[in-house]
Symmetry: C2
Subunit: 532 residues, 2 copies
């Protein structure tokens, strides 16, 4: 049975009011507005959501991992049950193709289940035990045990470009819930109906699992007041955000300027430089160029990991490489973007590039989408390495189907370009084994610039797994110590708590002497599953 | 042979200039100034130290764990070689007793060797490996590996209250060096001679181990310009600080307002509440009171973990408890504090408490130290729980030998007091098994307020071990996700880097398929030491 979308926030189990300012979803494909009207949450509703979350934390933060796992799996199961309605609504709100949305739903459910497995198994808490030595001289050594605990209510901002996997039940929500934190989601206004459907599923799952209502709230707002109030709310203890650098930096500033600063995990701007080394360019540069075209236009270039810069040594291989790219771009059809706002921002940046003539426009794709306000065309720019070095703004993210080709003259120039980079999510190298041996210094520079380095593949298509790092030095993220994708993400929403001289009965199960949960623990400095 | 203290900064292997403003160490015991004159580093020297550190990082950040371990052990050995000179100078600069300083030196060398063991063994990098599945449908799964890497030059501020264990070769320096980061120390001006001696040892160790000079610099400054310049320097990637809330917050603000914000680990103010539950108070309240006296006056009350608040239920046991404390405090001799500044700050806060009459002064110890400007007397204040709840400033740290006794009337009032607390490093409960069962709700509140909970012992005397957490919610620290003591501290100065589709020869040894370092790794989600 289809869920009726009501256009109201969920404050715990309660429906939001309909008094505040309202907005509607807009189809990027047709420009038409959709039913129903969505109502922005008011300040009192934001406050109530935070209070309910804080109350819920006292229960949910102490819930066994198995119970949290059941909750996450319930959400996944219920999402799959409304797959048709979700994909239909998300398709209309985002213009993303059905196959992509089905894949994204699978990924969303997959990561909920991955976190369920992690917290059910339980060793993620990094239990550490130093046993007492009562006879140690000059002073007895006390029994000391520590483990990670949840930190408290977490605010998650839905992202525009992944209406499922980085939104209401996306990675931030899944990892925060997994760690034991209540979550308040600020829905992205570009896909409010999709957000409400997913929120409905989570609310029902809270009820099905018998959890306190404050474990989850979903707040709508077409503007910024709900978000700014949430980030500054004294009961909120951490924030997850994926979006633009301007919005992310503004929220980061609020988070660190609070009387009690809190962790702010913002994933923002990344241009994901790609390096085609001489051997690879000579051997199969045209194939790399063709695949790169596919990568930088995937999802209309609206991926955080879109490669936006490509460095190729000047010369004949570079000319073929460039020719292939030009041909691909010139024959490209138009793209429907996620929103009119993203489209106009893409166009403004493109026009600026053309006007300033620091770059040369090598090729432009065709138009052709039905709704002009959300239609964009693929763009290929070029700038030589010295221009790139002299104009740092050329390394800034150009969100959409755009690529900047940078031919370089010498190895030295290549290294200078790499050294000049600010932080990015990824860097990619295409090279033969000889190329890699000859460019170990390039690799070493890139290790300090990004969260993930890809060899002879492309950075788009982020695997959800245990070893993934989706983060990187500023401005790729506001906290390079963490990832927003993969099971490591759970560590963003936890902090260590230490128990000294505790009897077993007062300890959390994770730290009890008999190791009743059979966890891997660090006992006197060594991994062990033995009682301790 | 004794090292000659020259009063100049160490910028890598180079001696600082003698042009800037100068200052001298002052004996807290006698008020006399000491030789030699120390010279503040200039802006160009700060910049050079940062540049040398960034250059050194390219080498040192890629050094094998075994080589870093050797370096840390060299520092420890050389510190022990100058133990007599160190203890003598530190004693004159801080008025701390010889036994304490010898103990602190042992702890300092112990933690250097602990980190040496950790990085020599190597599993701390949390290597994670997800193996490829080329046949996976719908898309092949790539080979993905990640591990923690050093983050870059780290700035460490020496603390006044631990001239060895939290200063030039203290915990922050040891953990940052262990993780592979060059370190620039801003020496605390209260013990510059001690700082120079330790800095000399590290500089010699850099040379003995054949490391790039920029791995370590030591900068003097009697004011704040070197510190503010360091925290804002674009080449600096993280900061460790132990000190006052005012100084820590000011530096935190600089760190997060940089164009590229960086992690700032400030350990600041903590009052370390202690709860004596009814059963324990009745059974042996007087013994607890006597031990508490020892804890809150240890090191003249100048420990970060000094218990400054004690909650006891009203009634006869509380009266005996209070009587014991009053007797102990009244008969206490005067204390020599670390500096005249700390002494006058202690006195100002005490005078404010007396004048405002929110608290009652129950007892005052004797004077008797030789130098009036650095002499303090033990103080015991009391305030009832409702006054405490109405005056949040009573929970603020009063650095020095001072204790506030808070009798409470009901369990409800006790829980309200606990809930009202801001972040602290520790909380302590004294209770019988029955007390603990009856107060599980108190424990649950405290878990959200502190980094470490101590049962039936005292928080002073922080064990350096694998399970220690010396940190806590703001303002105890600026980053409750981390600890500044114990082997977990190494995680403050590292970030994960992910390698996708890498051939073995291009991978760091920690991630190679044969597991040549025999590390514990997470392979496809499970701990393993097998090849993968």
């Amino acid at each position: 049975m289809a869920i009726t979308i009501e256009g109201r926030s969920f404050i715990g189990s309660r429906d939001g009011a309909t008094e505040g300012s309202s907005f509607r979803a807009i189809s990027p494909a047709t420009g038409e507005t959709m039913e129903p009207e969505f109502h922005s949450a008011g300040a009192e509703e934001v406050n109530l959501a935070a209070q309910l979350a804080a109350e819920a934390f006292a229960v949910y933060g102490n819930l066994a991992g198995k119970a949290r796992a059941k909750f996450l799996r319930t959400i996944a199961r219920r999402l799959e049950e409304i797959a048709e309605q979700l994909v239909e609504r998300a398709g209309r709100e985002t213009a993303l193709p059905e196959a992509r949305l089905r894949g994204e739903l699978g990924r969303t459910c997959g990561q909920l289940r991955m976190f369920a497995e992690v917290v059910e198994e339980g060793s993620w808490v990094m239990a550490r035990i130093d046993r007492a030595e009562p006879d140690r001289k000059p002073a007895a050594k006390p029994d000391i045990r520590c483990m990670l605990r949840a930190i408290g209510p977490v605010v998650v901002f839905g992202a525009s470009n992944f209406p499922l996997a980085f939104s209401v039940a996306g990675g931030d929500t899944a990892s925060a819930l997994a760690a034991g934190n209540p979550v308040i989601v600020k829905a992205h206004p570009a896909h409010p109906g999709t957000s409400e459907l997913v929120g409905h599923v989570i609310r029902d799952s809270v009820q099905e699992c018998g959890l306190p209502e404050g474990v989850f709230s979903l707040l709508f707002d077409s503007a910024t007041s709900v978000g700014t109030q949430l980030v500054q709310h004294t009961l909120v203890k951490a924030v997850g955000f994926t979006g633009s650098q301007v919005a992310g930096k503004a929220l980061f500033d609020l988070a660190v300027r609070r009387p009690e600063p809190i962790p702010f995990y913002g994933e923002m701007a990344s241009t994901n430089p790609l390096f085609v080394l001489p051997g690879a360019a000579a051997a199969h540069g045209e194939r790399i160029a063709a695949d790169l075209y596919g990568s930088f236009t995937l999802g209309a270039g609206q991926f955080c990991t879109k490669p936006g810069l490509v460095f190729v040594e000047e010369g004949r291989p570079c000319e073929s490489f460039s020719a292939t790219l030009r041909e691909k771009v010139s024959s490209a059809a138009g793209f429907t973007m996620l929103t009119a706002g993203i489209t106009s921002s893409f166009g403004r940046q493109a026009a600026k590039r053309e006007q300033e003539s620091k770059t040369k426009l090598l090729a432009r794709g065709g138009a052709g989408a039905t709704n002009a306000s959300a239609s964009a065309t693929a763009l290929l720019f070029a700038a030589d390495a010295s221009t790139f070095l002299g104009n740092p703004e050329l390394a800034e993210e150009h969100f959409g189907p755009s690529l900047l080709l940078i031919p370089y003259a010498t190895k030295q120039e290549l290294l200078e370009c790499a050294s000049s980079l600010h932080g990015h999510l990824t860097a990619t190298i295409h090279g033969t084994p000889e190329d890699l041996r000859a460019n170990a210094d390039l690799l070493q520079i890139l290790e300090t610039k990004v969260g993930r380095i890809v060899l002879n593949r492309f950075p788009t298509g982020v695997e959800v797994c245990h070893a993934m790092v989706h983060g990187g030095p500023y401005p790729a993220s506001t906290d390079a110590r963490t990832t927003s994708v993969g099971s490591l993400a759970i560590y963003r929403f936890a902090r260590p708590v230490c128990y000294q001289n505790f009897p077993d009965e007062a300890l959390p199960d994770e730290l009890k002497r008999q190791n009743p949960l059979s966890l891997w623990r660090i006992v006197d400095g060594k991994p062990s599953r033995d009682p301790a």
